[in-house]
Structure formats: C-alpha cells, structure tokens
Symmetry: C2
Subunit: 333 residues, 2 copies
C-alpha cells in the first residue's frame, strides 16, 4: 500500500466502500491475508481459463436516468469479467429485500436484468432471495457473480505495461456519477443527465484485435484517476494525462465546478481505461463507430518523466493526481 | 406450484424470505420466467460439469453458539454445491457493511470464513465490499457464490426417486434454529444449544459409495418437511416418515413444545435429507462414524400408500405435513 490511513476508531466508515485507498486498505488488512487472495483484482482466474467475479450493488436511488440497480448489477459484473479479456457467459444473482418493498418494482428490476443480460450475451442461471425487516436494508441490494471464459492466448495484465504506452478511454467521463447526483439530490437538471452504464465486451473485442493491447480496467468507483494510481502502485510506472484530451461533457464540467467535484475521480459504469502501445487510427475509428465508444480518446501516456500520476493542465503545468483516501459519494453503485 | 397464496398488497413480506411456499412463489412469479431458469434448484449446472450456487446470508445475530455469519456463509454454499454430488472448489464473497460496524468483528468473521473454507476444502478467491449508511443494513450481510465440479457419472436428481426408497437424515433436526432462537431472544438455555452448521461434502462422499443413492438436499430454511414437500411437488410420489424414528434432541423437543414450533419445519445447517433405495447397515455405520453423521437415521419411505407427505405419529395415526406458506422465524440464515 502506498497510502496508509489510520482506521479511525476501528469502525467501518462510508469511505471504506468508496473504491479508493480506504477500500484497498480494508481489503488488504482484513481479507487479503486471511483469504490468501492472489491479487486484489476484481476478477479471479481459475485454471487460467475460467474467470469469476462478484459484486454487491447498493446504488441509491434504485432507478435513475440511463439505468437502474438491475441493469447495473449485470453491466458491472460482465465488465469485470471482460477486463481481462474473458467472454462473459453466466450470472448468478442474490437479492436482499426489505420487508415492504414493492413487488412491482422488483419485477421491473428483474426485467432490466434480463434485458441487459441478453444484450451482454450472458445467461442468468441461478439465484437466492432473502428478506430482512423494514429498516434493515434500503429496498433491495443485489449481488451478482459472473463466470466467463478466457480465450487461449489472451493475456491482459498491468505487468505488460511499459514506457511509452498510450492511455485510452472509450468516452466521456463522470456520466454515471452525475446522473446519480442529479437523481438523488433532485437537482432537476434538464435534460436529466444519463448514466453511461453499459456492457463493454464488444469494446474489448475491438481492442483485442489490436496486437498491442496490454491492459484494461473499467473506471467505476474512484474513476480514471484511481485506476491510474493502482497501475502506478502495481508497476511503478509514471503517467501523464492531458487535460485538453479528456472527453468530458460540458454539463459535467459545469456541475463539477458548482459542486467542487473532479470528473477524473467520478464513477463511470460504461467506461474503461485501456493501455495500448501503439494505437492507430484504424482502431480509433472502429472504437468511435461503436455505440459505446463514440467519444473514445487517447488521453495520455506512460512515461518515466514523472513518478506518480499527473495531469498536464490546459496551461501546461503538471498537477499530481493522488490516490484519494475516500470518495465523497457513497452508494454510487 | 401446489399452493397459490395471494401476494398481499403486492409488497415483500418476511415470509417471502422464509424458504417455504411464499419464497417459491416469489421466485416462480418474479424471477424464474424472466431469467428462464431451468429449475428452481439451489445450484445450477454449466455444461454438465461445473456447478454454481449463490446465497445471501443475513442471519441475526451475527455470532451464535456453534457458528457465526462467516462460518454459515461457507457451509451453506458448499452444502448447496455438494447436494448434486459436486466437489466444492472455489468461493467468491461479497460484503455489504453498515457504517459504524466494528472492524474487529469483521476480522473475526473473515477468520471464521477462512477456517471453514479450509475444512471444506474450498479456496476463497475473490470478493467485493460495499458500505451503506447506518440504519441501512444490520452490521454485515454476506453473499457467497460457490463453484464446484461434478464428477463424471454422478447423477443425483429427484426424478431418480421411486416407490419403496428410504428417507435418511444425518442427525438431529432443528439444532440451528434452536441455537438462533436462544441467542436472539436471550432465553439463557444452559447449556446453550449449538448450531449444527457444518460442511457436508464428506457425508455425501459416504453416500456416494452406495450405488443406490438417488437424491440429497440440505434441510435449511423450511426444514425437512419443506424438502419432502418439494420432492412431492416435483415427483408426485407420496412419503411417510415415522415420528419414533426422528432424531430430535430432548432439549429441542422441550423448547418446541413451549414455543409451539415443529422441528420438522425448522432450519438445519448441517443436515441433509437423502433418498436411497436400499440403505444397508454398513453404510449406516460409516455415516454414524463420521462427526457430522453420528445420529443418522432412516426416518421414512417413499410410498404410493399416500398422496402427499405424512407423519406416522407414535400412536400410529397419519398426520399430513403440508407445505407452509411461510416460516415464523425470519433471518435464520
């Protein structure tokens, strides 16, 4: 761990769920040693062939423009499978329901899961349902576990990354968080910003056709800046990203300015960070032609010029992008 | 479905989580059709070789004599894998934590998971952690997903069952529920009754050495009576169990008498119902020699004499054991 934060009063705080440094510390101190986890990655590989990943979804609100907890519970999990190059195949889902929750809403959520599963090419094959008393949950929490198959010869990993590689994202940053903030706080933005939540297997397939494709990670909790810091912690390789190259919607920039938020740290649910040694125009065109890659951009590079992760601002100065201890927005996914 | 209960006010009730008829109805009406689930079983089989199962654990209290939510989250899931004859291999775990929960307790739970995983021969390979605000959870909820491998030639299924088969359990019934009631209600029973939660793969292995072994199911939520009713619904085969053959501890009988509960409907976490055509003394001796099979007993038989599931009482009369709509005790696992 690069950053050690003292665990205040030895109790769980919302920051432990933020996906930033506190989450990594909790996993590392409480779970990783005991469970003998090989890596702190989102997905584990069995026999170099079967990939498994699990995620709990506690997003608030349950329904938001561009998605709902059901859609998110499929896209988030298939994306975790996709990031090492695996083909997502199966999902199992477990539901914790609050006494009094509307069965009509539950049906909408199940519908949304099934539709998204069909788009993502996965089958939902088993599930479990538990009910807790009113006030011991918040409507519904869903945990999905995904199983995928890693094709022979695919080997995406941070250790492949080297000096000079380029950093790519497949579109505008921060959209999911902006959609959640607007829906949760009833800000009434018009048009209502939509979450980007989407299954990314097809985007990965485009990248896999590039022989120089080395690494990908979906930029969820903690955003792009956290992913890049994790790569730096794992590899020791510095990175500079260019402010002028970042695909960020004007409405996102405006809202972030008002609320003091940074889109680089905000969760996306349909965006990935890819590291590629020599991206070419052909690949970029194919990415941009895909509905989930329209605003793809090369945003920076891996370089020995710096130690750590830096943003080159529009004015040309270098601003460090540190690993945050926590994220100010709980329950974003 | 044998029993159709109207969904009162179209909201989720605690009964929907009880594992009895209401749970089956919820799964059947909300999930099974949409997700195109092949069966309503606890585990799904991929390619006739890989078995996958998922379960959420919301037990209250988190720690109880004989176990805790961590131990339960491993035994419950490996047992679901074991019941079709699969060898449990891997576990992934997702945690929903309440803001303010003690990290010390979380470490105890993780310890317990790892110890139980070692006993059960499974590796915990990945996980996820989310945190929700105080009052939106009850300390910690855990979802575990298990992956196991089904050996060639093993084929345990309700459709194998036929007239004359014997019904076996591997020990005393109701122990888990009694332990939870005593701990939750501070009844102060002395000695405190212990949960039976235990991994049952080795018990299944003993049974698999019997060529006439046809079917097994762990008797968790809803207890033995619910399992037998599910078999009846699936096969149309009647069953009679003998009151005088039931292994039930005197302390359980006494507490159930006081509280008006029936051990046949109470959850076990280390007991299974097995259907075997010709159990012999050799197999029963081997079961009884195992630490999780000491009080194994043949409790009844499959028979065309009756339609449905019946208990032959000590007095010789036949009492119907109906499928209950719900279970009076929420959050038993």
């Amino acid at each position: 761990m690069q950053h050690i934060i003292s665990m205040k009063n030895d109790i769980i705080t919302l920051g432990h769920g933020s996906g930033a440094a506190l989450t990594r510390q909790l996993i590392s101190e409480v779970f990783a040693g005991k469970f003998k986890l090989a890596e702190l990655n989102d997905a584990a590989c069995i026999d170099n062939h079967i990939t498994v990943t699990t995620d709990a979804y506690v997003v608030n609100p349950l329904f938001f423009p561009g998605g709902d907890i059901g859609k998110l519970s499929i896209t988030g999990t298939v994306n975790d499978l996709s990031m090492n190059g695996s083909v997502p195949a199966y999902i199992v889902a477990s539901f914790i329901l609050e006494e009094g929750f509307s069965i009509e809403k539950l049906k909408l959520i199940a519908d949304s899961m099934q539709k998204t599963a069909e788009e993502a090419g996965v089958k939902i094959i088993a599930g479990d349902t538990k009910v807790v008393e009113k006030g011991k949950c918040d409507g519904v929490y869903i945990t999905t576990t995904g199983i995928g198959f890693l094709p022979d010869g695919v080997n995406l990993a941070a250790k492949n990354i080297s000096e000079g590689d380029k950093i790519i994202v497949n579109g505008s940053l921060g959209d999911h968080t902006v959609a959640i903030i607007n829906a949760r706080q009833n800000l009434g933005l018009d048009p209502a910003p939509e979450s980007d939540c989407a299954p990314l297997r097809e985007v990965i397939e485009i990248l896999l056709n590039t022989t120089k494709f080395k690494f990908a990670r979906d930029a969820t909790r903690g955003g792009v800046a956290t992913i890049l810091n994790e790569i730096y912690e794992d590899t020791g390789l510095g990175m500079i990203i260019e402010e002028t190259s970042l695909p960020i919607k004007d409405s996102t920039t405006a809202l972030c300015g008002l609320l003091g938020l940074d889109p680089l740290y905000m969760a996306n649910e349909g965006k990935l960070v890819a590291i590629i040694s020599e991206p070419n125009n052909d690949m970029l065109s194919r990415l941009k032609a895909h509905k989930y890659g329209k605003d793809s951009a090369i945003i920076g590079k891996v370089t020995k010029e710096v130690k750590g992760v830096y943003l080159r601002t529009a004015l040309g100065s270098l601003r460090p992008l540190l690993m945050l201890a926590s994220d100010p927005l709980p329950r974003i996914c």
